[in-house]
């Protein structure tokens, strides 16, 4: 069953005085099945971020629709949208977006507190997640006291604690060194095996090679996609790299 369906998404930005129109997304359609792990790749300016913002309900498309669990999120009222996001989506960002004023634990609790959950409930939910992510010992620390990899794992915990339908990750490895990157990708693989649906935007080939499917976006359109199927990570890596070369040299669309 498709958990996320994107139909003919189009987004046009108009510069302030209405002079230039920039077409960030031309016509994007794809769907994500429950339990999938999808990476979206593309160069800077290809429309990745715009797409993610629309999926996250942070931005509205010019036309087209986004169905999450069959519900059109572009039609949700402004009032309900935050609660909708809290309950259905988990976010992981490149720059972590942890609040300096909270300990890691409180940062992870933030979405639950906003949803009005009791403290006992929060503790109950945190325990297995913290164990899985290996952050149990640093929960009392503040973001400025821990490493980038630890921060990102706390951010993943924050994304998972609401049991979201879909985790959206925006360049999650962008600010991490190679060891921390490897660790985080392993974590993503594990939580995906546990059944979590993940949609990740990246332009790191290494990160994308961990996904089960990779979508390539160029000039605001889905240009190509690769299924991992039975490939090993290294084979997948090679295939992605080749595709990117074709993309960059302006190859024709193929399926």
């Amino acid at each position: 069953m498709a958990i996320l369906e994107v139909h003919n998404l189009k987004k046009i930005y108009v510069t302030r005085f209405g002079g230039n129109q920039v077409e960030a997304l031309k016509n994007v359609s794809f769907s994500v099945e429950e339990g999938e792990y999808v990476a979206i790749m593309g160069e800077s300016g290809s429309g990745k971020t715009t797409l993610l913002n629309i999926l996250a309900a942070l931005d509205k498309p010019t036309s087209g629709e986004v169905l999450l669990n069959g519900e059109n999120i572009t039609g949700i009222k402004e009032k309900e949208i935050s609660a909708f996001r809290r309950n259905n989506l988990g976010f992981v960002f490149q720059d972590f977006n942890l609040l300096d004023t909270f300990s890691l634990k409180d940062n992870i609790f933030l979405p639950l507190v906003l949803s009005g959950k009791s403290y006992e409930e929060m503790e109950r939910r945190l325990s297995p997640i913290a164990g899985k992510l290996g952050i149990r010992d640093i929960l009392a620390k503040y973001p400025y006291e821990v490493s980038g990899g630890q921060k990102q794992r706390a951010a993943v915990a924050r994304a998972l604690i609401t049991n979201p339908r879909l985790v959206l990750a925006d360049e999650p490895t962008g600010a991490l060194d190679s060891r921390a990157t490897e660790g985080l990708l392993r974590v993503f693989g594990e939580i995906n095996r546990d059944g979590q649906t993940i949609l990740m935007v990246t332009h790191s080939v290494r990160a994308a090679s961990h996904a089960k499917r990779v979508l390539f976006i160029k000039d605001g359109e889905v240009f190509h996609q690769i299924y991992r199927a039975s490939m090993t990570e290294d084979e997948m890596y090679q295939k992605i790299a080749d595709t990117l070369t074709v993309l960059a040299t302006g190859g024709e669309r193929d399926e």
Partner: protein, 683 residues
């Protein structure tokens, strides 16, 4: 902002890299100018403050140096006060401008770091900063002095009204005052420049570039400081609330002020954190959507802003106290004159010979006749004023070996009392009537020296006007059966009214109001006084007129009010500036947090309302605390005002409440205005 900075960067890089010899001096001069323009959001308020301070300094200097003021009666008093005012304004100018400048530097550290990385050495940066200071100095001196000259005429007019001057103050431009202003502010700018250079010198470029982005540590809990704050504030409040004696109130006022200031700073910095941490400790309370965000947010804000907020609080309290007190004193001038002069004109003379009364009344008649005026509401009686010691019910002379509190007793005859009070009281030979203005006696017997008297009645009120200083020492009125009773008293009580020789002369008091202008009253007083001095009575008494004293009363109270308004204005300017800068720095800090919260799943409205409530708390806390300080200070200041002859507590309460209301309205206005700058930054 960032685009402007990038442009600046390109420009700076372009110029530095160009091989052709650009006139480097001009380059720094130009860059300095550009910097001021680019940082106008923080620079303009700074320049305005400088300008305003220069203006006020010049005005008060030129007023203090005004020649025509010296010629006026009471002018010297005013000049002394204004001279004091120049010092106070000077000192505050130094503090304010130093504070503001250090804020400017903090905001600009990143920019300095950028220049440094682009290849400007620290001495080049120094040159740029030097030029900036030069521009700022010249601009604020020129604008400040120009507006000073312009507004001094207006202030002179105001001064004439407030001080009730009869002559017109000559408008003049005083070069000396300008010179002093130039020197004072030159020194201030130099100190600020040196401080900036020191900051640039101490830091390394990567640190400069990172600027404020270093992870903010959670504030420590400082129990000791919080307790100290609570203790000092409590002590200050207690002192102010329970004090009764005006002399003590005056003496302890500054002690209380210092205690409250210490308490304010400690509680704002440490106390607030302690309370927030306690809130956080309670899991049930803390993990609620609205508490969660605000408690942690407030902790961070208090760490950043506590000192600034405490300063706003102290300054606001200062403004409120100064203005309410001086306004009360000024508006109450007539009342204090009335206390000192119960009637427009009074004659006070020892009743040494028969016919004193008639002689004086005849003199008054004679002087008043040409004016066709009559004595209005005349008040006449005889009294004896005695100072000595009191211990319980025993009154004894100074220096006879007994101890006890000093006290004042005024004796009146039954005849005078009955006439004044409109009663028909009778007394036996050893009976007296007692009226206690301040003090305490018990039982029914009084010992006056060797003699004892029975108190026939303790009077609830007394038909004489209240005396200003009467409430400062124990003071009693004693009504005795007849004039000669004092003869037997004299021996036991020793010296009458501090005379070398024991005398038992009564003092005759004759006073009356006049329905004439002040000028005519002064003429009458002069004539009467002349006649009186020339007569045989002249040696034993004097004639006093309220009209003659009025101008010196107004010179004093008006001078104080004038100074109060000036200082109040200065403090207000400081308060506004601190609020504005706080809003800006809060805005930059909040912008990032605002965006993160949005991404993590708070709606725009939730974020806005949470931030709004925090910002409101932060900015209204000082006002609330200031209000609280005022409430506690009220009793103390009221007592001090007693010494100035102001007994009308209701009136003082009105002045205080009025000042507080106007100030609060102004504060809200300033908050509203500066909040716009804040919202512009975060959205």
């Amino acid at each position: 902002m960032s685009r402007a900075r990038a442009g600046q960067e390109r420009r700076a890089a372009g110029r530095e890299g160009r091989p052709t010899k650009v006139d480097t001096k001009m380059f720094y001069a130009k860059l300095g100018f550009e910097n001021i323009k680019k940082n106008s959001q923080t620079y303009i308020p700074y320049l305005l403050t400088c300008m305003g301070t220069v203006m006020m300094y010049y005005i008060i200097q030129s007023l203090a140096g005004n020649e025509s003021l010296s010629a006026i009666q009471g002018g010297e008093t005013i000049k002394t006060m204004l001279g004091l005012g120049t010092w106070i304004i000077g000192i505050f100018a130094v503090i304010f401008l130093f504070y503001t400048n250090s804020f400017l530097i903090k905001r600009r550290k990143k920019e300095f770091g950028l220049y440094n990385i682009l290849g400007m050495e620290k001495r080049h940066l120094g040159m740029v900063v030097l030029w900036e200071s030069l521009y700022a100095y010249l601009a604020s001196m020129l604008a400040g002095l120009a507006s000073g000259v312009l507004f001094s005429e207006l202030v002179f007019l105001l001064a004439e009204r407030v001080l009730r001057l009869k002559t017109h103050l000559q408008f003049e431009i005083i070069p000396g005052a300008m010179g002093k202003a130039c020197v004072l502010f030159g020194v201030i700018f130099l100190v600020n420049l040196l401080n900036t250079l020191r900051q640039i010198h101490l830091s390394n470029p990567s640190e400069l570039l990172r600027g404020g982005n270093v992870g903010e540590k959670e504030p420590k809990t400082r129990w000791l400081l919080a307790l100290l704050g609570a203790a000092t504030l409590g002590a200050g409040y207690y002192m102010a609330a329970v004090i009764e004696d005006p002399v003590e109130a005056m003496a302890f006022f500054f002690v209380a002020v210092v205690l409250v200031i210490i308490g304010t700073y400690c509680l704002f910095t440490a106390g607030s954190i302690v309370i927030l941490k306690l809130m956080r400790r309670s899991k049930r309370f803390y993990y609620k959507a609205n508490h969660f965000i605000s408690v942690s947010g407030m902790m961070y804000r208090m760490k950043q802003n506590a000192a600034g907020l405490a300063s706003i609080c102290v300054l606001s309290t200062g403004v409120l106290i100064i203005i309410s007190t001086t306004i009360c004193m000024y508006l109450g001038t007539e009342a204090s004159i009335r206390v000192r002069y119960p009637r427009n004109i009074y004659v006070e003379v020892q009743d040494r010979e028969e016919g004193t009364t008639e002689k004086i009344k005849a003199m008054v008649e004679e002087v008043l006749a040409p004016y066709g005026a009559k004595e209005v509401d005349p008040l006449e009686y005889r009294y004896i004023y005695w100072m000595g010691r009191q211990k319980e019910n025993r009154f004894s002379a100074f220096g006879d070996g007994s101890n006890g509190d000093s006290c004042v007793v005024q004796f009146l005859t039954l005849e005078d009392y009955n006439r004044l009070a409109g009663r028909e009281e009778t007394l036996e030979k050893d009976q007296v009537l007692l009226y206690t203005e301040k003090g305490k006696t018990e039982g029914t017997t009084l010992w006056l020296g060797e003699n004892s008297y029975r108190i026939k009645e303790r009077l609830a009120d007394f038909p004489l006007p209240e005396e200003g200083l009467g409430s400062m020492v124990k003071s009693y009125y004693l009504v005795i059966p007849e004039k000669d009773t004092v003869k037997e008293l004299g021996a036991g009580l020793g010296y009458w009214s501090g005379e070398e020789e024991p005398t038992d002369f009564w003092t005759y008091w004759y006073s009356f109001d006049l329905e004439l202008t002040d000028e005519q009253q002064i003429e009458i007083w002069e004539q009467l006084s002349g006649k009186f001095s020339a007569s045989a009575l002249g040696e034993y008494g004097s004639v006093r007129g309220a009209a003659e004293a009025r101008s010196s009363f107004y010179a004093l109270n008006g001078g104080l009010l004038f100074l109060g308004i000036f200082l109040g204005f200065l403090f207000l300017m400081g308060t506004v500036l601190i609020i504005y800068y706080k809003q800006i720095s809060e805005g930059y800090d909040d912008r990032e947090r605002y965006q993160i919260m949005r991404k993590v799943g708070m709606s725009r409205r939730e974020v806005k309302s949470s931030i709004r409530s925090q910002v409101l708390t932060v900015f209204y806390m000082p006002l609330l605390a200031a209000g609280c300080h005022i409430v506690f200070a009220f009793n103390m200041i009221r007592r001090i005002l007693y010494m100035m002859g102001l007994f009308d507590t209701g009136f003082f309460a009105l002045c205080t409440a009025g000042t507080l209301l106007i100030f609060a309205a102004f504060y809200c206005l300033v908050y509203g205005r500066t909040a716009k700058a804040y919202y512009k930054i975060i959205s």
